[in-house]
Every structure is written in structure tokens, then in C-alpha cells.
Subunit: 331 residues, 2 copies
Amino acid sequence: MRAAVITKPGGPEVLAIREVEDPEPGPWDVLVRVEASALNRADILQRRGFYPAPPGVASDIPGLELSGTVAATGEHVTRFAVGDRVMGLVGGGACADLAVLHEREAIRVPAGLTATDAAAIPEAFVTAFDAIVLQGGLASGQWLMVDAVGSGVGTAAIQIARALGARSAGSSRTAEKLERCGPLGLDLAVVGTTDDLAKRAKAELGDGVAVALSLVGGAGVAAMVAAMRATGTIVLVGLLAGTQANLPLRDVLGKRLAIVGTVLRSRPIEEKIAVARAFEDRIVPLFEAHGTAPPRLHPVVDTVLPLDEIASAHTLVEQNATFGKVVLSHA
Amino acid sequence: MRAAVITKPGGPEVLAIREVEDPEPGPWDVLVRVEASALNRADILQRRGFYPAPPGVASDIPGLELSGTVAATGEHVTRFAVGDRVMGLVGGGACADLAVLHEREAIRVPAGLTATDAAAIPEAFVTAFDAIVLQGGLASGQWLMVDAVGSGVGTAAIQIARALGARSAGSSRTAEKLERCGPLGLDLAVVGTTDDLAKRAKAELGDGVAVALSLVGGAGVAAMVAAMRATGTIVLVGLLAGTQANLPLRDVLGKRLAIVGTVLRSRPIEEKIAVARAFEDRIVPLFEAHGTAPPRLHPVVDTVLPLDEIASAHTLVEQNATFGKVVLSHA
């Protein structure tokens, strides 16, 4: 099969398109003809040699999320048949024309979505859903607060919040990204730092924030505490802004807050399956037309490039000026 | 009725025994003839004027926990009849000969326990049970870690851990207190600070700690992170050692830890009832003889004094040299 290969650690120029051996599905796996894959910051780290693929995954083929069509099924597979459209998260190897997924980790593609749109869903929306709903317990009527809200996970989080009847506040250093978050459901937009966001949320959201999502970590996590309502949860998903936060324990105790760290990639398969199943059940229908149901969810795609141009796609992600996903079309 | 009264803010000498009006039970309340009450650090703060009683509670009668006999019942009460033995937590007013409890907040006294032993149970054991089991999810086979393990909540926590099939590590600055924790079920005793405890736990407990209970807070909370196993929970219950902790977010995220602050006294009644009901169901039987069941729980009582000597009892608690509860007998 055709695959993008990391020939050695380095810049985008170390990526090459090669012919490699096809992967073999196990008895509970589906073999997927990949139609599109999407890029993540972790791909850049892996290309530079800082984020090795986990055991059992091709170490030199990047790509953590994909969409495509089932091309073959292992002997015990019951959920999917050849020709079904699936999407999902993989430990690596999505930037290839064939990939293998456990049938219970594979997620059906929402009706009506293109392959390139579907490839933009898994990492952003599964991470956001898991963090704010499964970990944070966000429910209707409540406020969500998100730093770096213009990111892939941020734009997914505010869409999910709106679809569930919750409201959202978010910050970004870039005013233009914040403006584009308005139509996605952002109710309170703050140009600035996490500290600025927390101050505005504390001043303007009478009830306080039920769930805070920190995509960048750092000292701002401590500032979030002041804006939380009693029994709220701060979910920590990323650390780009720093790895220390000086936590005000009196408020954590007095408000009975929870601060929860989370990461998807390193979880054992049974937990990944549980998240995928909950996502297919509760979030996939929200991408589909449902009579007069509330605003639908939309994958946020910045750019689509052919797989052959993966080096340009990496450069785009590294420039950090995109709004939404950079997707590779394998057609 | 007879009651201890805080005549003005100040030292133990401001406590006096007075005749005051009887409390009136509401339709869902039991009126309890108090046979014993127990002291807590919060009583000292309240006596000094730093911890006012919540609304709806006599502001000048101290006492947060009691045991006794039902003397009368409100018209809707179904769980208890006159003569039943009950114990429980109250917002204040336990240091009096009569007290009022919602029938669903009242907890039956374990068979065979004296009134003074029963009065030593609620605050220590309900706090410990709520923190390590309901908030922390401690289960059999796992390790619990407790700072200030020689305290009332600490000695309750290690006993509950052992009864559930879990193991415990704990620290105290006082070697003699640690020695007395051995027979209560402490498996790894560390004389020293929370940092010392965390280092020993990390070095010696291969699996890592599933639930950490911080009774004193402070910088040591950050040190606990290194000893936790993946998906562990640090439960924060007190702040005597400090109100700031510089949290290492990389480990919190990578291990998917939760840091949870908790407090019982300020919770709404429905949550207090839920905890009381779970406690009666799951912990009260562990104080009773159960065939060949594992070691029974024991209230840890340091000293019993008559209610008339409440000033001496306060002085004892303030000297901080007790191991276990100081109990007042109302007989």
C-alpha cells in the first residue's frame, strides 16, 4: 500500500511517500481503506523524534485519525461489513491507504458527511466530549469555560456545549479566531490570557463555571479556580503554556472543586472503546439532520491537501495560523 | 434544658453551663436526648469567634456530633421510634441535653457500643468514609496514603481502608502516634512530613497509591503527586499546613489524576443525607461483631469528661497532644 513515511527525525522534508506492506487485521479488527486523515500537533512531535509511536503500531507512519470504508473484516467482526463508512482514532499509521481498527474502536461516519469532513472529527470531538462531558460532567443550563478556544478541541467543545444546552466562555490571544467561534456557539469571548478569561467569567457569570477546560495548562489553571462554582471541575488536557500551577487550596476545598488531568492516547483499549461507544451513541447523531433539533455539530476544516503533499500540510500546522484541521485526502 | 454556652468570643473560660429553651423538632425531625458529644477543632474556632454557626442553628451552643436516644419524633418520622439509639452530625448545638436531627441524617448506633464511644464516630468516620470511599473510590487491593494519620480522621481512614481490603501508608511528626496506628491497620508508617511520606510511598509501593488523603494541605499536596498511580485521586480535607501547592501539571495530566477538595459542613441537606445513608449502610455494620469478619472498626477515644467540664475538654483539644477524640458525657 501507499503510505507517508518518516524517513528519519527532522523537518517536513523527511516525510516521503513509499510503498509499504499492507497491515493485517486481527480477528476483531476491520481493515479500512483510508479516504482521509487529519493532522495533529503530536504528528509534528513524532516527526521530530520526540513522540515515539506506542507498541504494536508502525513506528514510521504518522497519523492519529482517519475516515474511510471497511475493505475487509476479521472473522469475529459483527458491527461492520465491507463497504461501511467508519472513522476513528489510531495509535499511528493513519497517513496510509490502509489501516486497522478494532471494530469496537471504530465509529460510524455521520450520514451526509464527506470523508475529509469525517477525518476532522475524531481527535477534536472525542477529546472534547470525553473531557467536558465524561470527565467534567457538563450538563444543560451550565457554563463551560475554555482557554485556547480557537483550537480544534476548543471549537469542538463549544459546539458540544451548545448542543447539550450548556453555554460557553472562551479566550484566545487572536481576535480573529474568537470571531469565528461566535457562529459555533461561543457566548462570552475574551481576547487575552486564561487569567483574563477567568476574571471576566467571575465578574459576569453569576452562577459561576461548572466545567473549565484547560487546553494549555500553566499558571492560568490556578486563576480558573476563582471563576468556578461549587463542585465544579477543571479538566486539564494540554500543557503548551506551562507545567506548573500554584493552586489556591482554600478555594479548592471550600468550593469542593475537582482538578482532573486527562489524556486519551495512553489509555488501555477497554477505556478507548468505552469512549468510542459513548461518542457514537451520544455525539455522532448531533452531526446529522434531526428534524427541528438544535444547531448541528460541524467539523472545522481549515485546509484539505492530497496525501502526496503531507510535507506542506505539516508546515501549515507548524505555522500555527490555521483555524480548524488540516486534512489529507487519500483519493 | 441544660447546655454549654459560648458567653462571648474568647478562651475556654467563656464556656458556661446554662439553662436554655428546648429545641423544637420539625415534622421530619427526631428530638434526641443527648448522652454524649465529642469535640472538634472547629469548636475551638467557633468559641474564638472565627467560625460562626450556620443559619438555623443555635449560634452560642457548640458541638458538631453527638449520640443519644430518641426522646420524641415529628409527625412524619418513620425511621426511628422513641427509645432508639442514634448518632449524627449537627451544624451546632450538640453540647446540650437535647438536640434535633432530620430523621434521614440520624444514623443508628452500632449494636454494643456505649454512648461515649458512639459520639466519637460521626465526624471522624463519616469524613474519612466520604473522602476515601465516596470521593476517592478506594477499593480492595489498593493503597491509601494519609498525612497526619494520627488524627481522628486519619485513624478512622486507616481502619476503614483495612476493613475494605485496602492497605495504608501514613505519616505523622510524632513517632508515638504512629506506633498507636499500627494496631489500627497502618501498613507503612513514616515519621516526618508529607514529603517524606510521598518519597517512601513512591519508593516502596510498587503499584503506587490509588487514593491520597490530605488532612493538612500545604505544599505536601504537590509532593503526593509523584507517589500516585495512574487515575489516582488526591482528596483534600484540611489546610493546617498551608493554603498553596505548586502542582506539577505534567504528572497530573500524564497519570490522569484527580485532585478533589471536599468539606462536609457546608453541604446542602440532600447531600448530607446521602452520605449519612451510605454510612449507615456500609460502615455501621463494620463496628459490630460479624462472625469471622475482618477486624472491626473502633472509635478512638482519648478522654471522657462530664459536660460540666467542657472548658477543660477544650483546653485538652487545644494542647494538641491527644490521640483520638475528647468526648463529653452528658449523663
